[in-house]
Amino acid sequence: MNSILFTFIVLLGFTSYYFGRKKAYTIQSTKKRLTALPQFYGYYLAIWCAIPAFIIFSLWAIFEPTIVKLLVLSDYSNQGYLDDELNLIYEKTKSLSRGQFTGEITPFIEASAEKYLSLRSIAQSSKAVIVLSIIIASVAYAYKRISSNSRTREPVEKFLNAVLFTASLAAILTTIGIVFSLIFQTIDFFKVIPLFDFVFGTHWYPAKAFVRDSSEALDPSMYSDTFGAVPIFAGTFFIAFIAMCVAIPIGLMSGIYLAEYASSKVRQYAKPLIEILAGIPTVVYGFFAALTVGPFLKELGTSMGLEVSAESALAAGGVMGIMIIPFISSLSDDVITSVPQSLRDGSYAMGATKSETIKRVIFPAALPGIVGSILLGVSRAIGETMIVVMASGLAANLTLNPLESTSTITAQIVVILIGDQAFGDPKTQAAFALGMSLFLVTLCLNIVALRVVKKYREKYE
C-alpha cells in the first residue's frame, strides 16, 4: 500500500513537471515574457506536488503506530495494568492480527486484534485520501500561481538550497551521533575501569574479562591488570613509526622526482601507476604482509641468527609504509608542482642547480604542504586495521623490538568485537574506549594537517 502510494506521488510529481512546463510554453506563446525559464515552472509545480505529500506521508509513518496503539489500549486503560503488561498485550494483539500468535487466545485479545485491524485499514485508506487531496490542493494552488506568471525561479532555487543543506546536515549529524555513541559507551567503560589504569596500565589482556557471569561483571577488582592500554598505544605508534620510516623517504623522493625531474611523458605514466598502489584494498596488503613479507623476514632473520617472529611489527609496518607511499608521493607532487614557476626561474637565473633550487627554494616553499601530506599519512597509518590484524599478531606485547609481534588499537578493537559480545560488558565497552582514543588521535592529526595545508595555500593567493 505504502509503496503504491509512494510510486503514485513520484509519478504525479513528474506529471506536474510536464504540466508546469507546458503552462509556461502556453504563456510564452501569448508573447508574454516569462520571469524564468520554462523548466523552472515545471520544477515549481513538481515541488508543490511532491513535498507536501511527502511531509504528510512521513508524519503519518511516525505518528500512526503510536495513535493506533493508544486507541487499541484505551480499552484496558482503567483496569490497573502496568506499562509492561500493556506492552505485552499490544504485542500479542499485533501478532494475532498477523496470524502468528501461538499462545492462548483470550476473547479480550481477539477483540483488540479486530479493533487493531480495523484501525489499521481505516488509517491506510484515510492516509491515501488525505495525501491525494493534499496533492490536488497544492498542485491546484501552484498551478494558479503559475498562470498569473508569478515568480518561480526563486522558490526553486531556495528549495535546492534547502535540499543541499539537508544533505550536509545529515552528514554532520551522523558524525555527531557516532561521536556521542562513542562518548557514552566510553563513559560507561570508565565507570568500571579507572581512567588511570587504562591510560597507564601496562597489561592488556581483555580475554581475561570474557568468561564471567553478570554478577561479577561490575566488580572492578576483577578487571585490574586487564585493560592497561599502554602496550597497544605503544604498538600503534611503533608500527606507525616503522610505516612512516618507509613511506616518508620513498614517497617524498618519488614526489620530488615526479614534480621536478621526470619528463612529462614519464610523469604521465608513472603518476597513475603509483596511484594504483592507493587503490589496492588493504586486505590484499594484509595477506601480502602476512604470507609473503612476514615469512620472508623470519627466514632472513633465522639465516642471520636472529629471533624473528612470523608476525612481526616490521612486516606489518613495512607493508603499511608501502601502502602510504602513494598518498605522500602524490600529495607532495601536487604541492611541489604548485610552487610558482617564477620562483624556480628566479633561482635558476641566480645560477643555482636543480638540486640547489629544490633544496633551498622549492622544498622550503612547499614544506607546509608536505608536512600536511605526511600528517595525513600518519593518521592513515594509525587508523589502518587490516594489515596489522593479519600481519602483526594479536597479543599486546609491550616491546620496541621490531622483530617481535605487537598489536595496535585497531587490531585490538577487531579482537574484542569478533564473535559474541554483550553490550554493557566492560570488554565490549573497551572497544569503544579504544575507538574514542583512536578518534581523538586522528582528529588532532587531521586538524593540524588541514591547518598546515591551509596556511600554505594562503601564501600564494
Binding site: R344, S347, A349, G351, V361, A365
Partner: protein
Amino acid sequence: MKKNGVKMIKIKAKNVDVFYGKKQALYNIGLDIEENQVTALIGPSGCGKSTFLRCLNRMNDVIDICSVKGEILINDFNINDKSCDVVRLREKIGMVFQKPNPFPKTVYENISYGPTIHGMAQSKQEMDEIVETSLKKAALWEEIKDRLHEPGTGLSGGQQQRLCIARAISVRPEVILMDEPCSALDPIATAQIEELIDELKKEHTIIIVTHSMAQAARVSQNTGFFHLGHLIEHGSTDKIFKNPDNTKTQDYITGRFG
C-alpha cells in the same frame, strides 16, 4: 664607454635561431651589445624579444621543447658551446623578471642566496657586507635596513622588484638582463627603477626588454626593434627614435601598430 676610442662589445649574437618545438620564434638574429650601456629591446608582444633575452643566460634550457641554434659570444666565448658551464654563466649574467619574484624567505636570505650557492662569502661578516652593498646599490637599504629579517614577500611591489635587482647584483654579475621589470609597477616605483638602471650601468651591462617606448627612450643608449621573430633594426636609441631606417620601426615607435 670607449676603450682606445672603440666601443667595447660585451655580447655578440650571430645567426641565432630559436625554435619552440617546430615553431620558429627567432630568425637569424645578429646583435652586438655594448659594455656598460643600457640596451633596450622593443617590439610588439610575441615578437621574440623576451625569448632572445632568455637566450643570453640560457634560461631557455628550462623549457623542454625550446632549442637554440647559432652563436652567442659573451667575452668572446660561445655560451651555446657544450663546454659552457651554465652555473658560472648565470653567475655572470643576472636576470630580473617581469613580476617581482622574491623567494618566500627573509630579505636577508633573498640577497644571500646567490653568494651562498656560489661560495662567495667566507664569513657571516662578509655576507652581511654583500647584503648591505647589494641593497645600497639597489637603493633599497635606507627603506628596509630594519626589516632585513622579515619576509621579502611582505614588501611593496616596487620594493620587491628592487629586492630582486639587489638579489641579481649580489653575485656581481657583468650583465643584468631585465624582462619588462616595470610592467607590474606603478609610475613612482617605475621612476625609481629607471633611476636605478641608470646608476647600475656604471658597473654592469644592462639589457632591458620593455613595452614602453618612453622607457626605452629614457633609459637606453642602444635600441633593438624586434618584429615577428626578426630583428628589424638596431642602433643608438637616438637614431632609432628620431631617424629610423626602416618604415616598420618608424610605424611602431610612432604608435601606428603593435
